[in-house]
Subunit: 150 residues, 2 copies
């Protein structure tokens, strides 16, 4: 069986696949226990709201590259949990402005702390420079990725 040579792209692709699976795996293991009702995807929306301020559903959907219908359901969940509130948009009766509540901000702050401690431990043997480099390269990759396909 003649095996084609593996290019550097294959190697990179493997690691990207691997990262997906690991992330998925760790998530399902981890959140099974601390079941506080906030799903991962919804959590991402909450983070966006806290980080970048109140905005409309449609804007949010575009930012995370999800369909509006998907985001709609996730937002509904967050509203049900009291982590996000809807404010009528004065300029458009169809839309609402979505904003994180106090409880919402508190929720992500807690998770943030736990998560960052895990990162600190996970990356304990890394140099400051390598950590920064990974972030930079990843950010650049994402930028290019986004620009290339979307």
């Amino acid at each position: 069986m003649r095996k084609a040579e593996l290019s550097e792209y294959d190697l990179l692709n493997s690691e990207l696949f691997r990262l997906s699976r690991l992330t998925e795996r760790v998530h399902t293991r981890h959140t099974a226990k601390q079941n506080d009702g906030v799903e991962r995807a919804a959590y991402l929306l909450l983070v966006m709201l806290v980080k970048h301020g109140p905005r409309r559903l449609s804007v949010l959907a575009e930012e995370v590259h999800s369909d509006a219908s998907t985001v709609s359901r996730q937002v509904a969940q967050l509203v049900r949990l009291g982590l996000v509130e809807r404010r009528p948009d004065p300029t458009d009766g169809r839309a609402s402005t979505l904003a994180a509540t106090e409880a919402g901000e508190h929720n992500i702050e807690c998770k943030r702390r736990v998560r960052n401690e895990a990162y600190a431990e996970l990356l304990a043997n890394w140099t400051e420079q390598d950590r920064r480099r990974l972030h930079e390269l990843l950010a650049r990759f994402n930028d290019d990725f986004e620009g290339y396909f979307l």
Copy 2:
């Protein structure tokens, strides 16, 4: 723990989240067209078989960090499509050895070529060094990730 460190992890985490979403998004956009029946997750299994040789389902499942039941269904799909074949395991009547067929190898070789061309274009402005560095750091991150949680 200093605050500067914390925000560094936040940034990294953001990019990891972003990568997930982008990957997901591009996948659904892309594979909607070339619908040849091989799902993404199943494709990963096929890659493993071609790359690392025939093996049992249970081994495969562990390698990709998925449940055996999940892998069982995906393998069944690949067998149905003629991309993988089951060979009775001479040493154990319960198990089969799974192996990629000619068609299976051909299938991933085609995809590999298309994908690598996309990568080449996507990373056209990158230096060889940066591409290699991203791969290295990512691989290292995955290793640590794997070791930390599993």
